[in-house]
Structures are given as C-alpha cells and as structure tokens.
Amino acid sequence: MASNVVSAMSRGIAGCHTCGLAVQMPDNTEVECPRCGAELHYRKHDSINRAWAFLIAAFIMYIPANTEPMMRTTSLGNTSADTIMGGVIYFLSHGDWPLALVIFAASVMLPLLKMIAIAYILILTQRASSERRIERTNLYKIAEILGKWSMLDIFVVGLMAGLVQLGALTTIAPGPACIAFAGVVILTMFAEMAFDPKLIWDKME
C-alpha cells in the first residue's frame, strides 16, 4: 500500500510549512500561501547545509559547555567553581542520585544524543538511504520535543544567582559555561528547525 503513496512535490503541490494548506504551485517558484501569507516552498531552502552548519557550531560549543565552570559560589571569601559534571558528582556524593540523574540526563546526555541523532539523520539523508525511514522520522520528532530540556541547568544557575545575590555573605555568579551551554541548546534547535524531515522520504519513487 505504502508504495502507491506519492509525494506532494511530484504532483506540483506544496504543503505550507506554517499553516499546512496544500497548494497547487504555479511554475514560478516564489509564491505566498493564499491562506496564511507565508512563503511557500516544496522543501526548506538549503536545508542540509544549514542544518550541518548549526550542528557543527553546536558541537564546538558543547566542549566549553562541559569543561568550563557553570557557576561560581563565593561564601565567606571561599570561591568554588562548579562544572556540570561537578554538580552531578556533588549530588551523587550526597546520596541525591535522582537529582544527579536528572541533571546528567538533561545537561550532558540529552544535548549529545540530540546532536548525534541529527547528524545520523543528516548523513543517511545525504546518502538518500531508504532504510528505517519511519524510525528516522520518529527520531527527528523526539529530538524536536526533548531538546529544550537541556536549558535546565542554565535556568537553575539563573535562579540561584538571582535569588542569592542580595545576601552579602554568599554570592553565586554564572560561569562561562552558561553562555556556551545556551549556545548548544539554541544552535541544536536551529539545526533541527533548518532540517526538512521531508528530505528523508525523497528519492523514493
């Protein structure tokens, strides 16, 4: 049954990326959606190159995000700097393993898995592979939904720095890893948005 399915592009129809309307495309390419006014195109423009660019930038940012300190705590003249893993180890050593697990999953594993997932999807798409198309589509959707949870640690630092700052004896300041980490999250979101999942299914007919 599935082999009889045709892509909308092969029939000159584009599904609007913004409102979903199926539009019969005229020959000249630049058209606006008659329903929502967004620009219509069969596939996102330069999708794979743009996705790779964002992804590589995210990979680079991932390194300082993990090696640099996330937070500096100054208490009675003593300053301690914590990296993400430092925080995870701190909670583990205090027997707080559920929290350690949450931070480890959201801050270390999730961004890495999302970047690997997008890279995997991109490579197979570039090879025009016909393998595991449904699984890759699902992987893309999961990456899309879960990515934002990596912002967790940045929010934690932001809250703690904001809340504790007023007390003169203890201050909490953000470290350089914060901006790198936010960069990882935002750049992977851009990479995922730049990629067009429809490319997974092209070159089938």
Binding site: V5, C19, L21, V23, A106, I134, K148, V156, G162, P174
Partner: protein, 212 residues
C-alpha cells in the same frame, strides 16, 4: 454524516493523501510515515479558550508574587522570576538574563496573549484584523516557550539552595506550577489545523483552485 475529505500533505514526509473527517477525540495519521496529521480535540475551541483564560490569571499571579523566600544568616531575600533575572542583568550578564527571562516569562506571556486574541476572535466571530498574522507568529514562538523546563529548574534550585539557606516556598511558586499545567492543557487541547479551517470559513480567504 457527510464523508467530506480534505486533501492533505504530511508535514513530516510530504505524502499526498485524502483525509476523511475525524471524529472528536480522534487523530488523523499519515498513511506513509504514521505521523499525526491533525487531531480533532474534544471540546472544540471552548476548551483551550477556558484553559487559556485561567492561564492568563495564573500568569499574572506567578509573575507578581515571589517564588520563594530565602533566609541566609538572618537576611531575608525574596524575589519574583523577573526580579531574579533583573539581578542577573545587573551582575553584568545581560545576555544570560535574557536567556533566562525570555523563554520563562516574556515568550510564554506573548504566546498566551496572542492565543487569546486568536481564540477569542475565532470563537466569537469577531473577525479581528490581525488574527492571521498573530496565529502565524504564535506558531513560530511556541518552541521557544519553556515554562515547563523552568518549573523543573525551580525545583532543582530549591534542592540546591536548601544547603545554603532556609527556603520557604512562596505563592508565586504554586501559581507557576498551576500555570505550567494550565498552559500545557491549553496547548494539548488546541489544534492549529482546526483554527486555520475556522478562519478560512469565517474570513473566506481565497482558496487555491481544487482541480489537480
């Protein structure tokens, strides 16, 4: 019951298909990649609108009341989310303050207001002028609203701060927790496809020729 079919292009795999009308509470799925094409949520537009109005009230409370009170060696500190972000800003990291404040306060606020404009306009057939561009804008903003992640962030911060200070949870915290649930319910009961269909019916936008 008329078996009205609509021509639909799957967002995920571009499969062209005719989709029959879906009963309330059911989904239409792609014949090729099995992704959900659209839903027909029970409760139509009334349900998300009700959740949204509740969210608006809760949003105000959550952002005006302090989320927690800290006591460090006799010094009492209490702040709202925006207050915490503002201190972050004063500390000399305006970009980090923005990264914290935009997805937790500003963008969700804009989404809630925009959705109210759109849903109210459609539900009461107001035909407000900016309904379409605002609906487009809302769709673009949705992935950047991260109140649910922020909620988890508040919980983690509380656990971390317990070691440093006496922590008393404030009204803002409870309001924010309710807000996250109400907002998630709004989004879950909302289907953009239905909104666009309603808008087309009401405003009679020029549709493309249906031959093909």
């Amino acid at each position: 019951m008329d078996q009205k079919q609509i021509r639909f292009v799957c967002h995920e795999c571009d499969a062209l298909q005719m989709v029959p009308a879906v009963e309330p509470g059911h989904d239409a799925n792609c014949i090729r990649c099995k992704s959900r094409l659209f839903r027909n949520p029970r409760g139509g537009i009334d349900k998300p609108l009700a959740f949204l109005i509740a969210s608006m009230f809760m949003f105000v409370i959550a952002n005006v009341m302090p989320i927690m009170t800290l006591t460090i060696v006799g010094v009492k500190l209490r702040t709202t989310i925006t207050g915490a972000a503002y201190i972050f800003y004063q500390q000399g990291s305006p970009e980090l303050a923005a990264i914290v404040w935009l997805p937790s306060v500003f963008i969700p606020g804009v989404i809630i207001l925009s959705l109210f404009y759109v849903l109210f306009s459609i539900r009461f057939q107001m035909n407000w002028r900016y309904t379409k561009p605002i609906l487009v804008l809302t769709g673009r903003l949705l992935p950047w609203g991260m109140m649910d992640v922020f909620m988890l962030g508040i919980l983690v911060s509380i656990v971390k701060l317990v070691g440093l200070a006496d922590v008393v949870i404030g009204t803002g915290f409870y309001a924010f927790a309710f807000l996250v649930v109400l907002y998630a319910s709004t989004i879950a009961s909302l289907e953009t496809h239905t909104l666009w269909e309603c808008l087309t019916e009401q405003q009679g936008s020029p549709m493309e020729p249906t031959n093909g």
